[in-house]
Symmetry: C2
Subunit: 419 residues, 2 copies
């Protein structure tokens, strides 16, 4: 097998550990010189390939690549862009081959979630369909934890840890204030379709450290009266409670709870979060003093409190992707395989990409308690190992010393391409 | 001097490090048995004294007290309750003396901000005014950093670190997404009257790690057009930017920007945050895709990312309070004194309480850049040492192993008291 160059890109919403996967890909590629010549990164995901906007990662010193392991976000830029089917837009595929050929790219690594797996699958079929030899391997990443086959998704464990830690800390705060002031703290977390992230809020309460928490899942239709009754019960018993609400919670009418038709004084529609909506109900329905927060990007960027397990798995799938590729495996994705819960043991497996792309794994109903407001022991057993361990970045002047790569461009060989 | 008991309580909004001050008070009191017999904590601040709801801290093992150093929030419960003047409500003072006398309390330590300093000052005057001998020392604490005389306030450094770290992390995120998606991230932070906390967002950008950030201070009247022009300029130059907005930002009319007269579909008033208001302006005025977050309690409870400097100073003022008290100093507050910036050196001083109570220190105008959207070099030199150093709590099962005290009540000797 001749030495060929490789392409790596990051896609979709970024995470605290997607760069750890990049680190795994690049460090492993550097050890496989027999197969992989240069590793080019796409600037802003697949757009980098389409527009021939390539970054020469060989220009980055080893220390900078090592620092990717503890740097959040996408070091090469990400994108939200889905390739159309070959029939709908053959021009895009022809262009990809043109760019791959110009730069002798024989390996394609795409780091993303479900939509990105679809892009990677399409690229993997170029080989058979259009006669250009390329091996495409998907590197899994998504805070949503909704990819199938893999036990969990790199990126999720760190969000889960952030939400669990933050919920515990804010609950301590509201417990202190409850006697004369705030009695409920509402935290809004990510999760449009699946409640994995909200579920992690439940970990804040553990044996010997019980905390009254109500979780609102997108999987459970929101019923205001039942919710108010539950909060009322907990506040009467404990003096306070915390609410962790998924951004994707819907009412019985199927509409997002955050979509309350808010208007400002001029009648303009305002997009609010779901946390203030829920908090408003507590005020109106129970006359409880509340505080609310919206974690938004903070939760998925919080490398400072990343899960060590998650960092290690993110690196491992990056490394495995390169090893699969150089052994000739096309159209696959490395997965995390759980071997045991206590002690937690895991390994890396492999899944065919056509079984991954466009398939969404939702939360099993038996992970959510009967009343719909909490997590079950089964869910806890699944989640706990994923937030295990701390993996602190180095600090300089009180701030994490994250790396910014120089991202030197590869000289273009082709003409421009309009998307 | 005879051995007498002491009273300690926590007041106002809690912080990530108020318990570190409690730790300093209790550990030091335990070493001063010659002066201090038992140290009683008030359950929920001064309410614990008024209702004779006392906690016997001598029942807590040394390890639990040590753990307070890394546990956020108020371990004994806090309160928002201001004593009226003696003339307005002599009954309260008579009751305090009754409780103090019943439990032989000769030392009073009150841990809080400006309002609490006023309570402590009033108690310190009981001695002269009502003939009951007591020494009252205030232990400074406030995330608002608005107490006078002290160089900075214990509690502030950790919020500042949280905001700086979070702004850096979220900025990395939005920079990755900006090409095809989100271009601006808006983070709402605390600060009703003073912009100290928002200013800390400016630390996210530093030499060699420049990040485009717009800060909105409560001290600067918000002008929409100037704000939009500034964001537009930064996004055009860098492709993205972050906005850190203080909850207390007001428009030229002096009204809170968060107070937009929001109504839901039924016409009910909704209390939103200022972050969605600002984000909405970016969408309407510049058609920029945005994300927004509201840190709320997370910022002041985030012991997991506390500033080591802040933890040490919080402990030190607790310790100093006891030492001042046993040396007979009534009606004072230990302060943090800055001795040099580089290297940062500090010590503990002392301020008379009547110069502290009800005085608010605002941000000097020369800490805010000319255009009103950033911090000056002078502000940076002031802030930087305060976020220096990490002081991680121990973890168990992926979560910080914070302590919950047993908080055993002291047997009551008096009848009930209605507030």
């Amino acid at each position: 097998m001749a030495t060929r160059n490789a392409f790596y890109a990051q896609s979709g919403g970024v995470t605290a550990v997607i760069n750890a996967s990049a680190c795994g890909v690049i460090e492993t590629a550097r050890k496989r010189r027999k197969y992989i010549g240069r590793l080019y990164a796409g600037r802003n995901g697949i757009l980098g390939a389409l527009t021939e906007d390539l970054i020469d990662t060989s220009r980055e010193p080893a220390a900078a690549i090592r620092a990717l392991r503890y740097t959040p976000s996408g070091a090469f830029g990400s994108c939200r862009y889905k390739l159309k089917s070959f029939e709908q837009n053959p021009r895009e595929y022809e262009r990809l081959i043109e760019v791959f050929r110009a730069h002798d790219i024989g390996y394609f690594f795409y780091n993303g979630g479900g939509d990105s797996a679809d892009t990677c699958l399409k690229v993997s079929r170029i080989s058979g369909r259009m006669g250009y030899p390329i091996i495409a391997v998907h590197v899994p990443k998504t805070v949503d934890n909704d990819l199938p086959i893999t036990d969990n998704c790199p990126g999720f464990g760190s969000v889960a840890k952030y939400v669990a830690v933050s919920t515990r800390e804010a609950s301590f705060d509201v417990a202190s204030m409850a006697k004369t002031s705030t009695k409920v703290f509402v935290l809004e977390v990510m999760g449009r379709h699946a409640g994995w992230i909200a579920a992690a809020g439940g970990l804040a309460s553990s044996k010997g450290m019980e905390i009254p928490i109500v979780i609102l899942f997108p999987e459970i239709a929101f019923e205001k009266d039942r919710f108010l009754a539950r909060v009322d019960e907990l506040v009467k018993k404990h003096g306070y409670c915390s609410v962790v609400v998924s951004e994707g919670v819907k009412g019985p009418d199927g509409k997002f709870l955050s979509d309350q038709g808010l208007r400002d004084a001029f009648g303009h529609a305002q997009l609010g979060g779901v946390a203030p909506v829920v908090a408003g109900m507590l005020k109106q329905g129970l006359d409880l003093k509340y505080h609310w927060g919206v974690a938004d990007y903070l939760q998925r960027a919080a490398r400072h409190i990343a899960s060590k397990t998650d960092v290690e798995q993110s690196y491992a799938v990056g490394k495995a992707a390169v090893e699969l590729a150089v052994s000739g495996r096309n159209s696959v994705m490395p997965t995390v395989v759980r071997k045991s819960n206590r002690p937690y043991k895991w390994g890396v497996g492999v899944a065919p990409l056509d079984k991954v792309a466009n398939v969404e794994k939702t939360m099993p109903r038996d992970f959510i308690s009967g009343d719909g407001f909490g997590i079950t022991a089964k869910c806890r057993a699944y989640l706990e190992p994923l937030i295990e361990g701390e993996d602190y970045p180095p600090y300089r002047g009180g701030l994490p010393a994250y790396v910014r790569l120089r991202n030197a461009p590869v000289r273009k060989k082709l003409g421009a391409f309009s998307l």
